[in-house]
């Protein structure tokens, strides 16, 4: 028996818990199955996929993290650009990057195809790590060390844009990452890197 025809503005007399038509049941079932796919893709990508925002996460004193970054920069410094050290750590090593208003410290020089563990944290307020034009975006929170294994897949001269509001000079906060080939060539052909894509 169907409920008496009524709109959403009318009170419903009697019991409204009545069986739905098959068409509705089918749609609910299909929608539910799709929701299960939406869920399953996430664990599946941890297992089979190459891009996961997991990493190793620990608490850290902001000043201690900056000191660790400075020690790292002094250890592997190869050059200076606009007053910022250019640092070339060996593949497989721990790499440190500190965000502070309004600077990314230091400049990193990595080798294509090699894996590093990149530690990210902030000295003062929240910042946003946005690797351009690769389009990797991560939240940087002061007091938290976010350590992710990264493996570049193209050579080039990349930028780090701050994409979390951090103060009045936020839009001037740009850093640099250089990826060379095995021979150390800094062939900076960003055209070969992806220039962004479809939504």
């Amino acid at each position: 028996m169907l409920t008496k025809v009524h709109t959403g503005l009318d009170p419903v007399p009697g019991i409204w818990w009545k069986p739905a038509h098959r068409a509705e049941k089918v749609w609910v079932a299909i929608a539910f199955a799709w929701c299960m796919v939406l869920f399953a893709m996430m664990p599946l990508w941890h297992w089979k996929g190459g891009q996961n925002p997991s990493g190793v996460r620990t608490r850290v004193e902001p000043k201690a993290f900056l000191a660790r970054t400075q020690a790292f920069a002094n250890q592997y410094k190869v050059d200076t650009d606009r007053g910022v050290p250019v640092v070339a750590p060996p593949p497989g090593s721990e790499v440190y990057l500190t965000a502070m208003t309004y600077q990314w410290y230091p400049i990193l020089k990595l080798v294509n195809g090699k894996t590093y563990r990149l530690h990210l944290s902030a000295l003062d307020v929240n910042h946003g790590f946005s690797l351009y034009p690769v389009n990797v975006n991560l939240q940087i929170v002061p007091g938290y060390d976010y350590a992710l294994e990264v493996t570049p897949n193209a050579t080039g001269d990349f930028r780090i844009i701050c994409n979390e509001f951090c103060g009045i000079g936020h839009h001037t906060m740009v850093g640099r990452v250089i990826v060379t080939d095995d021979a150390g060539n800094t062939l900076s052909d960003n055209r070969s890197a992806r220039l962004g894509g479809v939504p």
């Binding site: 169907l2 818990w17 299909i30 869920f39 996430m42 190459g50 946005s130 034009p133 740009v174």
Partner: protein, 576 residues
Amino acid sequence: MPSAFRTCPATGRRIHLGAELLVKANAVVAVVSLLIGAIAALLLVLTRWQAVHLLPAEWYYRILGVHGMNMLIFFIIYFEMAVLWFCCTALLNSRPAAPRLGWVSFGLMFAGAALVEWMQWSGRADVLFTSYPPLKADPLFYLGVILFAVGALTVVGLFFATLVIAKREKTYEGSVPLVVYGAITAAIIAVITLLHGALIYIPTFLWSLGIIPEVDPEIYRMIWWGLGHSSQQINVAAMVAVWYMLAGLTVGGVVLNEKVSRSAFVLYVLFISMASAHHLLVDPGFGPAWKIVNTSYFMYMAVLASMIHGFTVPAGMELGMRLRGYTDGLFGWLRRAPWGDPGFSGMVLSVIIFGFVGGITGVTIGTEQINIIAHNTLRIPGHFHATVVSGTAMAFMAATYYLLPLVFRRKVAFWGAARWQPYLFSLGMLLLSMGMTFAGSFGVPRRHWDISFSQAPFDVQFNPAVDLVLAVMGIGGIMAVTGALLFIAIAVKSVFFGEPVGEWKTGTYVPGIPPGITNPPVHAANVDEINERLHGGRGFPGPTPGTMVLVFVFLGAFMVYYFTNWKLLSQLWRLG
């Protein structure tokens, strides 16, 4: 003593005059907030459109905060307060509980909003909408938010008290209408949301006074988004309730099955409590298990709920039209619908853009790994302008075209313009959302004054296509703001200088009064018989084959967009 009630000549409902005054006051302040927010929007869009770049940096960030608070908090919540008062009194023929306390809470909200405006405009709260510590604002800013939230929470309490009164005084028979049921879910979510707000703004207020040494920035983000995202779920529930209301008023849209629609509302309540997780997917404070579980609870039941409403609302309209004799073909009911009624067109545009743009992009970028290519880019505002603005705000505007004659008893001013306002506003918002979404997919950041990076130490060259999509965003934004200002002009003129609705003959067309009121979509006396016939013997597509086609088109678009994003993600550096 004069009666506290009047009888609505259009709907025959008993309307309490005191409650009506509360609806009016909240709606008027909502429109004022909308005006401030819309002017801010115009300034922002003309700044982000890099070719124009209007505001200086300091004012860009300041106005961005003003825009966020006015649109997402003041406009939306004031309007929701009006919706709550309307649903628990007018729709249930009831008197309001403690109307004096209703005015006290209205005053509290007003004082809170005024404090926030003062702090923001005077540059003492340049912390944007989210106010993430350790960025610090003047204590009065946090105090303003707290006052506003306490006021809103009190109104929600009065809403529940009014429901009890209506039940006890038997002002209606049976169960509350579906629209009120939707409003109840919105109110329950509002309680959860506002408690999160208290939980985080009170310590932050104390911290700004120097009483507490620090607020953990990651814990702040988690609890703050319990307010920030859950409040969007209030909007969704209220918006869906408005969809059902307008479907009934404009085309005689029916409720296909109360069990299905009400269960979907319950899913909203049960599955949103940690919706904040969507905002922390690439944060350092939480592990993958926490992120996956709290975005989906293994099942994405809140998404399921929206997909159910996405079917039942159009299907209810289709069946309502078919029951009234518009039975030709798959889409005859759509062709014959009242597209010149802004209450109808606005509601339909809200359903379409909310679902196809807002919904699909939201679920996709809210996926743990896909968030890597979306977090804090312009894709995020691209998504939520399609949900909150094209969806919720458009639905509220459409509802206003009916509230003006029904509650304010005024004709809709500038009727000719009102008829195309929804199209202008929606098209503008659609262009804005698409422009932002595409720009974001090229890596253009949100909340950023200067993407030419003229003052940065290293140059950044965006893909030339970015100029084009930002122009689309700019033009769309200007169209949408024009549509919003037009709406405000219509609302203000109608309320303060409008022509009284007067008398009309049922079945006639009266300029200034939506046709759903002067020529209501009534069903024939033997409608239940016709309904049985439409339900029987049609096999799988059921009584609403047109909607069945539409939802499968939706599902197809969803799948294509979702898997395209996985494909793009797979091309990134390896990361883990």
